[in-house]
Symmetry: C2
Subunit: 620 residues, 2 copies
Amino acid sequence: MSWFDVVLGKPLATSEERAEHIGPVSGIPVFGLDALSSAAYGPEAALTLLIPLGLLGLPYIVPISLAIIGLLVIVYFSYCQTIDAYPHGGGSYTVASENLGENAGLLAAAALLIDYILNSAVGISAGVGALVSAFPRFESHRLLLCLVILAILTLINMRGVKDTGTAFLVPTYLFLGTLLLVLGVGAVRAFAANGHPAPVTMPPHLPMATATVSLWLLLKVFASGCTALTGVEAVSNGVMAFRDPTQKNAKRTLTIIILLLMIFLAGIALLCRAYSIGATDPSGAGYESVLSQLIAAVMGRGWFYYVSMGSILSVLALSANTSFADFPRLTRAIALHDYLPHVFIVRGRRLLYSHGIYALVGFTALLLIMFGGITDRLIPLFAIGAFLAFTLSQAGMVMHWKRAPGKGTHARMVINGVGALATGITLLVVLVAKLREGAWVTALMVLLLIVLMKSVKRHYQSVDQEIAVDHPLCLDNMAAPLVIVPLDRWTRITEKGLRFALKISDHVQAVHVDAEECSDVVKEMWQRNVVAPVSASGRIVPELIFLNSPYRFVLSPLVDYILEVERKHPDRQIAVLVPELIVKHWYQTPMHNQRAQVLKLMLLVRGNQRITVINIPWYL
Amino acid sequence: MSWFDVVLGKPLATSEERAEHIGPVSGIPVFGLDALSSAAYGPEAALTLLIPLGLLGLPYIVPISLAIIGLLVIVYFSYCQTIDAYPHGGGSYTVASENLGENAGLLAAAALLIDYILNSAVGISAGVGALVSAFPRFESHRLLLCLVILAILTLINMRGVKDTGTAFLVPTYLFLGTLLLVLGVGAVRAFAANGHPAPVTMPPHLPMATATVSLWLLLKVFASGCTALTGVEAVSNGVMAFRDPTQKNAKRTLTIIILLLMIFLAGIALLCRAYSIGATDPSGAGYESVLSQLIAAVMGRGWFYYVSMGSILSVLALSANTSFADFPRLTRAIALHDYLPHVFIVRGRRLLYSHGIYALVGFTALLLIMFGGITDRLIPLFAIGAFLAFTLSQAGMVMHWKRAPGKGTHARMVINGVGALATGITLLVVLVAKLREGAWVTALMVLLLIVLMKSVKRHYQSVDQEIAVDHPLCLDNMAAPLVIVPLDRWTRITEKGLRFALKISDHVQAVHVDAEECSDVVKEMWQRNVVAPVSASGRIVPELIFLNSPYRFVLSPLVDYILEVERKHPDRQIAVLVPELIVKHWYQTPMHNQRAQVLKLMLLVRGNQRITVINIPWYL
C-alpha cells in the first residue's frame, strides 16, 4: 500500500459501489450540517431586525418563528415529494429544467453552483472567525487557517462520503445533544416558573424602542429568519448516496433533520421570549450571539457553556462540507446535459466525481484569498443563490403535479405553490435589501455562468454534429498512405524508419534538409544503402528529396514540403515518419536535439486531416 | 520586419557568412577589451604588494614591469605562432588537446570555461561597482544593474560580432586615446623636468617602509603584475572571426593590442616612479586607484579626468564582452569533440553559436545572483583558470615544435618553453596565495567539469556505437505491422482511424476498455459498422477485444494489453493508432479529455523498440 493509498484510501472497484452508501446516522452529518447549523444564525438574523422595537419586539419572534416552522413543514413535504419523484437525486437543477425548461434549469444551476462555493467559503471563514475571536493571537494567520481547514476538508472528502460521515459524527452529535439539552432544561424551568424563569447568567438588557411595528418590518423579519431554511434541499440532491432502501433512508434522514430544526427554531423562540433574550447590535462593542446568551442563561457559564459553544463553532465550520457533498453531484448532473465539460462525469479512484471536488476547492480557495478569509465581506453575496434555487425548484414541482394529474396532486400543487410564493417573496426581499451591498455581483456571476454553460453546450453540439456518422465503415480509396521519412545520417534509427515505411506503403519519400551543405555525402549513402538493396529486392525504390535551407532552419522547410505534398496529392493520406531517440535517464535529454518533439507539434498545429504522424521510437 | 528582427537583426543565410567578418578596427574592441583593460588593474596589483616597502619599493616597479613586458613579448610571439599553426582558431583547448593529449585538453577546456564565466561576471560587477562608487544612491540596486547590463550585452551579442564591434568602438577608443594622451603628456613633462616633474594634483604620500625586500616578495609582485596578461589569448581563439586575409588580420590585431598594452605597462611604471605614485591600501579609507592618481597628477582634476575615468569604468564593464566573443567558440570546439552537448555546434539565425551565448548568460546570471553582484567575493575564484590555460597552451606549443622539426623550430620551442615556465610559476604562486580564499572552489569546479565532459563523451560514444550500422537496408521480414486501434463510440474519428489501420495492414485489432459496462452496445455497433462492410469487401475482418476495468482506469489496461500483444508476437512490429481531437481554440481544451496525449506518453515511457505510435489527428 503506497502513501497515496494511506492518505486517500485504496481505489474502489465499480462493483464495490453499494458498500460506500450511507444511512441516516451518517446522512445527518453529511447532508444535514448546512440546514442544522442554520439554527445558529437564522433566529439571530430575525431578532436583529427586531432590535429597534426594544422589549416590545420580543413577543413577535414567536408567531414569526411559527410561520417559519410552518414554511419549513411545507418545504419538508415538498422535498419528500421531490425525493419520491426523483429517486436518482432531484436537486433544483433537475426539477427546474425538467419542469420549467432549459433556461429555468440553467438559472437554478448557476445559482446553486455559486451558492455552494459561497457556502463553502463562508462556512470555513465563519468557523475561523469564531476561532480567532476566542484566540486573538491567531488573528494574523486568518487566511492560512482558512486554507488549512479547506485542505483538511478536501482530503476527507477525497476519501468518500462514508468516511466523511464518520469524521463529522462527533461534532455534529455533540452540537445536537448540547443544544437539545439546553432547550429541554430551559423549557422545564420556564414551565416550573410559570413562563418567567430566572436566568443563571443574566442576559444583556434590551435597548429602548426607537421605532414602531409595521407590516413591512415584520415581512423583513420573516425573510431574514428564513435563512434558517438554507441547506434543507441538500438531502433531495443526494438521494442516490443513501443505501437501500434509498428513498426511504433519504426521507428518514430529511425527517430527522427537519424535526430537529423545528425543535431548535421553536425552542429558541420560546426561550428567548421567556428569558427576555434579544439580539445585540452585531457591529456594536458588547456583541454576544443569541445562542451564547441563551446557553448562559439556562446553564450558566461553566464547562458546559464552553463545550456547547465549541460544538457550534465546529459545526459552522464543517457546514462547508455540504458543498463538498453536493457540488460534485450538481456539476455531474449539469455535465450530463453537456452544459459543463464532460470531465465532471468521470468517477475517480474512490468512485467520487473528483473533478467537481477539484473545482469546488479551487474556487473556494480563490474566494478565500480574494476576500482575505473575512466572512463579513462574503455575506452580501450569499443566500440569493439558495433562495433562487428554492423558488425555481418549488415552482418546478408545481408544474410537475400539474402535468401528472391524479389523486391528491391538486393538494400537493397547492403546498408547493405556497412554498414557491413564500420563498419567492423572501428572494425578492433579500435581493432588494442586499442589491447595493454585493448582491449585484452574484446576479452578474449567475448571468456569466449561464452564458458559459450555453457556449459549452454549443461546442459539444457542434463537435457531435461534426464527428457523427450514420453509415458503416467506408472502404473506398484504400490506397496505402504516402510516407515521408526525414533523412540525416545512415544509422540503425534511419534503417528502422525506412523499414517501417516500406512495410506499410510502396510510396515512400526520404527528405533531407540540406542545412549543412553535404548533399553529395547523403546522395552516395542513399545510393549504396537504400537504392541498391531495394531495387535488388524488386520493390519500388523510395524517392530522395533535397530541401535547401539557406538560413539553416531544419524543421520549417520540412513542414513546408509536407504541406506542399499534401496539396499535390488530394486523394492520398500523408504519413510522416518521425524517428525519435528515447534516452534512458531524463538528464541525458540535453545531449540530444528535441527536433522530433518540435516536428510533431508543428505538424499538429500546421497540419490537417490528411496528415498523420508515425512515431518511431528508438530506446537507448 | 517583425519586432524580433528589429531587436536581434534579420536572419543571416549561410552564404552571407563572410560579410559578418571583422578587421582590426572592430577586432580590438571585440577581442582586445579584456587584455587592454588589464592595464587598469595589473600594475596596481603589483604596486599593492610593494606598499610595505614604502618609497624604497617604488623603483622595483620598473624592472618588474620590464620583466612582465618581456614575458608579454614572449607570449606575443608564442600566440603569433599559434595563429600560424591554427588558422581556424587555436585556443588553449585546441593546442593542449592536440599536443598534450585528451586530459590536458580537458583541463584547459574546463579552466577556460570557468574563467570566461568568471570574467563576464567580474567585468560586469566591477563596472557596476565603479558606477555605484560614483553614484551611491544606486547602491541598493547593484544586482539589478548587473543583470540589466548582462541583458544589454546579451542583446548586442545576439546580433553578431560585427555589430558588437561597432557598439564598443567609442568607449574602447576613448579609453585608448585618453590613456595614451596622459602617458604622452606625462612622459614629455618628465623628460623636460629631468625625470622629476611637478604633479598638477599631488598624489597621496607613500607610507613608511615596514619590511625589507626579498626575492619571494619580488616573485609575488611579478606574479600579481602578470594579471595584466589575462585576455591576451582571445585573438588566437577567434582567428576565424576575422575577414580575409584571416591570419594576417588576426596577427595585426594581436600586434596592436600587445603594443598598446606594452606602452601602457611601461608608461605607467615609469610615470609612477617619476611622479612617486604608489598603490594605496585597497581596504583602507583613503583608497585611490593608481590610474586615478596618475591621471590627476599629469592632467589635474578637470573635465579630462572625469572623461578618462568614465572610459576606464565602461571599458572594465565591457571587458565582460570578451567572454561573449570566445565562450561560444570554445563550447563549439569542445562539442565538436563530443565533450559537450551537440547543440553548441548549431549556428543560430545570426550565424552565431547561440546556445553558447545562452549558457554563458545563464551561468553569469547565476554567479551574479549567488554573489549579489559584489566583485570582491568573486575575485578569489578568478585568474587561476586563465593561467592554467596559458601554461597548458604554451606547453602544448612546445610539443608542437618538438614534433615538427625544421628550421627555426628549436628557437620557437625555447620561446614557448620560457613562456610556459613563467606562466606556470605564476599559476603556482597564484594558486598558493589564493587557495584558502576561494581558489579551491575553482579547482573543484575544474575537476567536476572534467568528469562531466568525460561522461558526455561516453554517452555520445555509446549512442554512436548503438545506432551505428555498417550494412545497407535489410529487407527481411517485411510483414505489415499489427495495428491496435482503441475503440469507443462510432464516430468519424473512429472511422478515420480504422480506415488508416486497414490501409496499412491486414492484421488489425480494435480494443475497447469496458470502464462503463456497455459491452453489448459496443458489440452491436462493431458488428453493424465494421464486421458487415469489411467481410462484404472480402478483406480480413479486424478483431474486437474487450478489456475489463474494475477500477474504471482506461489507459493502464490498454497499455498492459499492448505490451502483452508485443510479447506474444516477437516477430512483428506493433503500431498503436491514437486518434486525437485537435480543438480550434486553446480554451476549448478543457472540454475534451487528454487521453490521447497521456496514452502517447505512457507508450513512450513503458514501450519498447517494436511499439510504434501512429497519431491520427482530427481537426475540428
